[in-house]
Structure formats: structure tokens, C-alpha cells
Point group: C2
């Protein structure tokens, strides 16, 4: 399905926010204009340093007014049509990326928020960028059921935004992610993801970077490469191992069903993936989401996020990976983050990773060749 | 209300688990015997090291069978009565602590789970202890509405268990916490809390210990003491400041409504609190919970956890604090941990700490002297 990809068409919304159309094939989008009257943007989020927890928190109270579970007819991610002007001026589209109207992070906070360096109360503008990635114009579609060619367009959009946002002077890391399901608090049902360009390196990436550096110093090798090789050798936690990509349940998984999707090649971020790797990722990503949906009685609420090389020395020699996980632990039961997780940061996982991998292998793949996944994944078959 | 506290009465349940009765006044409990036939305990949880995230996860899959939202008549935390034998043999009680029947952590895992030291797959038995703390025999009570004398008994139970569990050779830290509300996934409505004695120092405590050590090295002072003094001086985030205790919203709060309750005196754990400090804590703790409940239309789902001095060098010079927070961000709206929080560990808080403190002050106190809380809390009144 690989082909020459058209460059995105850029435009601006009525309040000046950027919007980009990414098309499955050339010649799709036109230059529709946003005719709404929007109030001026007043982004004023702040980052604050927690001197005990050693982490930044983003304080973004103007977001309380954001769009919350609108009626389908008022969906701001649907195409504009006669009498209903949405966030997307076009009457149809493939994939659209635009700046969030209620951003937690924005370069424009620099104009409104001062920096304070009191060691007990460090704070500053919440610089960066929050973008929305709309995966389809079909409000009722499911990401897992998108055609691979469309998923490939989404991947190209991630790659484009990663490469561009990384160059913003304030940005520490670009995080492409997707939340799906009421159970995760998703306020818009229309299939979409988000991109946060953080003004610092997020704690999970920072810890992974330190781990990787220590491992490299001790062994001369990449930690993700070593994990991938050892998981393929063991096999019991592997869910898919197709071409350029491997999906496995991490040995110390925090969530009941969690899959790390990593490229076999040592590559740091989505924009560095080859054409073939992107095509392969489209297939594997949809395959994993499909397995999640087939685990239980109802579609899985899930979070999927891309750990990409952060800017600066922490990003040296990074190995790209996506973490995809569901909070559903059993039919009708969710995993909640209660005292141990939220209070002490100790995750209790009620499903062993080996059992999770077995279930995810058994969840097969839609439109597959009839294998149950276990045979495809095991190292004995694909050493 | 202070008085000589009776020592707890100890007994064992039918499967050998320990149970302790803590009474508001001497002479309350009798030696009721557990007449149930219970299967033998088969605790087999495991801890596994995540070499990327640098954290232990607890893998506890046998807990999937734990009691899940039983009918009120089947509540395992109610007193035993004719024909219904619960986890608590007595026909009535004040406060009861017993070992969890479905523990995530247990000394008995040593018999069943081996230790592995492969650097990519480190694991071992999930040693430690999980205890349940039942706050009242009244199934329908609310913790916030308990009499202060009962809350004092709960505090004595926390103190007793902290002092005892800390001496277990496997234990790194004793964490007393409470989850309240369906929205947090609480599976038993009967008012209760939990105590986890972890076989390691939990990540949040570990980070706080490093922060405190760095601050002490730079200034010669305690970080929590300095935070407390600066919050009292600023006043805008102070919610309560009564006698020995101060409750304030942290400057970089992660949750929409979050209060840190800390003793003015530099003390490391609950068992070191004086008689007067415990009485004062009972009042302040109930006061804060009452304010949470009065914030919105319905009782607040909340988590409250005690950060106590961990064992070992990390616990040196620790300053005790409770973190109490709700996930309700507005009437009918919850704060969910989605991509940014769960995937990147970056919290986005939609309510400024100053606004949260103002709302919590305005939420007043039940049965108070008529002040609105703001006057009581502000440094101008109580410098």
C-alpha cells in the first residue's frame, strides 16, 4: 500500500490556530475557510514544580470550560456542513491535525504567565503545544477498524508533527497518544488522538532515559534492543512479531493488559521510520487494538502513547516504543488507580503478564490467515 | 477527649490471619471465635522490576477472585451475627484491623515465589503485609461523620500497626491509606481503610526522600518544615491551621482538590505523635474530609494516604504528612488519568491550587464556631 505521500495542506482557524490536512492520496482537500467568529485565544496555563515529588504539574484551569460530551450533532471534530461550523472547515477530510482550542500547553502562555524561581515555588508558562489528531471524518468509526492505508496516514501525521514540534525552542519531548472510551474520561467520541509537545522531558521518559544510559554504560548495548531480543527468545509474553515490529507484554506490566510495540530496528522516533516500517506499523497497531477489543464483552477502553526520543542529551540513542494498555481487568471490571497507585506510585496488577499475553494471542487477528496468533508469535516459528 | 488507650485485643481468623480489636474505651471486646471453614491461604504475589521505568510492580493475579461489591447483607466487614459469619467474629466492635484475605503483599509469598536476578527480569516474592482497617461497625456510616473519639481510635490503630509492621524484616515502608467512593473503584462500601507494608520504598516516598536530602544538604533545614512555614506565611493555599496541624493545598497540586495535612512539629510517623497531637489530628482529618464532602453536590470520592518515614537511610529526618485528594473536578465531572498522566506521568490539573484552597475554606466546617474557615486559616489571624 505504500505510495508517495502528499505534503499536508496548512490553513488557520478563525482564531489563528493552525490546522493541517493529511490525505490518504493526493488531490483530496480544498482550502475551506473557517467562517466562525471565535473569541481571541487567552492561553494561560502554568507549570509548577513539586519540590517533594520532583515533577512538574501543569495547572490549566481555563480548560474547565472545554467541550464536554457534546451531542453527536454538535461534535466539533465532524466536518463542517450547512449551518453547522465545526473545528474543521472542510466538508470532508481524511486525517486532520489542529491546535487544541483548550490547550494545557501553548507557546502563547509566554505572553501571560511569568516565571518564578523561588526554589519552593518554581513556576513558569506552560509552553509547548497541544494538538488534536482526527483519524477519520466518520464520527462513529472505531480506530481499530480503520483501513491500514488510513492508519498509515495517521502515522505520517504523527511523524510530521513530531519532526516539526520537536524544533520549537521550548519543547522537551513530543508525545503522540490516544485515549479511547468513556471509562478513560474521553469527552469526544469521534475517533481522535492528541499530541502534547511538553516544555520538559516527562518523568516516565526521563526515568527510561536514565535506565537506558546505565544499561549502555554497563553493557554497551541498547536496553530496548536487549529487552526485545530476550522477549523474542522467551516467547511467552510475545503477542505479535510481524516483519519490522514486535508487540509484547512487558515483564513488569502495570496494567491488566498492556502491550509494548517496538521496531526491531534501533530507531528513535516515528519520523525516522522508513516507508516499509510505517506500512508495517499500520498493520501491527491495528492488529493490537483489534485484539484489545476482542478480549472482553465490549470494546476496550485504552490508552496508547508513543515514547519517542526526547530533545537533548536524554534522547541520545533512544529506542522508539508505543505503550498500549487497557484499564479493563475483567468483563465489567475496571482497574482503578487507588491508594497504592495514586498515593504511593506502586502499581498492583491483577493479571500476570504471561496470562495477559496468552489471552491477547488467543484474541487472534481480524481478517487473518486463520492462525491464532500464538503460532505466529512464538520464537519456535519465527526464530 | 484524650484518655488512656487500651491495648488492642489480638486473635486469629480461621485461616490463621491476625485480627486486632482497637476500642474507644477499655472493656469493649470479647474473645469471639471465627467458626467459618476457610480454605488455606495461598498467597503467591510477585514483585517485578521494570528496568525502563525503574519501579517495582506487584503482580497479584490471584486477587481477581476477591470480593467485589457484595450485597449489604453479605458485607464481610460487618459484625458477625446469627447465620452470617463475616471476617469479624465479634457481634459488635469499634475499630478492627485484620490481614487482607486477598493480599497483594504477604510474608507467606516467601514459601511459593522464587527470586530471580536476571537484570532484565528481576523478580521475587511480594513480601510485606496488607491489612484492612474497619472504622466502625455501622455499614452505612461515613468516615467524615465519625465522632472525633472514634477517629482517634483509628489513629491509634494506624500508629500501632505502623510501629509493628515496620519491624518486619522485609518491610521498606508502611503506608496507611483510605479509598472512598465507587468512582475510585472501592469494592466494599463499609467504611474502611487499608495498610500496605511494602517490601521496598514506594517511588513517591523515594523521590520525596531524595528531595528532602538535597534540600537539607543545601539549606540545613527540613523541606516539609520549610514548605509549611512558607505556606503559612503566604496563606492563600492554607485550608486549616489548627493547633498542632496545618492543611494546605500544595503549590503544584496534581489533583483538582488536594490537601496536604502535616504536623507543625518535625515528626516522622504516626506512632511518634503525642497524645495531644493525635487528638488534634482526629479533628483536623475529619474537618478536611467534611470540606471535601461539602464541595459538590454529592460526597466526594477521595483517596487519603500517609507518607511516613520509610525504613533505612531514606527515612532519616522524615517529616510526616497525609495527602488527601478527590478526583472530582466539578459537579458531575471526574478527573481521569489519561494519556498524559498514565502514559507520560505528567499531571494536568484543571483547578488552580489557590482556587481549590478558596473553595475548601468556603466549604467551612461542620459544627464550627460559625467562621467560614478563611478567617481561621489565614496567617493574619493565626500567624
Amino acid at each position: 500500500m505504500s505510495q508517495l505521500r502528499p505534503a499536508p495542506m496548512r490553513t488557520r482557524l478563525a482564531d489563528g490556530r493552525e490546522l493541517l490536512y493529511f490525505d490518504d492520496a493526493p488531490g483530496r482537500t480544498n482550502g475551506a475557510v473557517d467562517h466562525r467568529e471565535l473569541p481571541p485565544r487567552a492561553d494561560a496555563s502554568e507549570i509548577r514544580w513539586d519540590p517533594l515529588g520532583r515533577e512538574w504539574a501543569v495547572i490549566a484551569d481555563q480548560r474547565q470550560g472545554r467541550t464536554y460530551r457534546p451531542a453527536t450533532s454538535d461534535c466539533p471534530l465532524c466536518p463542517s456542513r450547512d449551518g453547522v461550523l465545526t473545528e474543521i472547515p472542510a466538508r470532508d477530510y481524511d486525517v486532520v491535525v489542529f491546535e487544541n482550542r483548550f490547550p494545557s500547553l501553548s507557546e502563547r502562555t509566554a505572553e501571560r504567565v511569568a516565571q518564578h524561581d523561588d526554589p519552593l515555588h518554581r513556576s513558569g508558562p506552560a509552553l509547548g503545544r497541544c494538538e488534536v489528531v482526527v483519524f477519520t471524518s466518520d464520527h462513529d468509526a472505531s480506530v481499530a477498524a480503520l483501513p491500514p492505508a488510513r492508519m498509515r496516514t495517521v502515522i505520517d501525521a504523527w511523524a510530521h508533527r513530531t519532526a516539526e514540534l520537536r524544533t520549537l525552542p521550548s519543547v522537551g519531548a513530543v508525545f503522540c497518544f490516544e485515549n479511547r472510551g468513556d471509562e478513560i474520561g474521553v469527552t469526544l467520541a469521534h475517533p481522535h488522538g492528541q499530541i502534547y509537545a511538553y516544555p520538559f522531558v516527562p518523568p516516565r521518559l526521563e526515568r527510561a532515559a536514565h535506565s537506558a544510559a546505565e544499561h549502555a554504560a554497563a553493557t554497551g548495548r541498547c536496553l530496548q534492543c536487549d529487552l526485545l531480543a530476550s522477549e523474542l527468545a522467551a516467547g511467552e509474553r510475545v503477542v505479535v512479531a510481524d516483519g519490522d515490529w514486535v508487540g509484547y507484554v512487558p515483564f513488569a506490566a502495570r496494567w491488566p493488559y498492556e502491550v509494548r510495540i517496538a521496531p526491531r530496528r534501533h530507531v528513535g522516533s516515528i519520523d525516522e521510520l522508513t516507508d516499509t516500517e510505517r506500512d508495517g506499523l499500520a498493520e501491527v497497531y491495528l492488529d493490537v487494538l483489534g485484539r484489545f477489543d476482542r478480549l472482553f464483552d465490549t470494546p476496550a477502553p485504552y490508552i496508547a502513547g508513543w515514547d519517542q526520543a526526547p530533545n537533548g542529551p536524554l534522547g541520545a540513542d533512544w529506542h522508539l516504543a508505543a505503550e498500549v494498555f487497557t484499564i479493563r481487568r475483567a468483563p465489567g471490571k475496571l482497574k482503578y488507580l487507588a491508594g497504592s497507585e495514586s498515593g504511593a506510585a506502586v502499581w498492583i496488577n491483577d493479571v500476570t503478564p504471561e496470562r495477559a499475553a496468552t489471552a491477547l494471542r488467543a484474541a487472534g487477528r481480524a481478517g487473518s490467515d486463520g492462525t491464532d496468533g500464538r503460532e505466529v508469535a512464538g520464537p519456535a516459528v519465527r526464530p
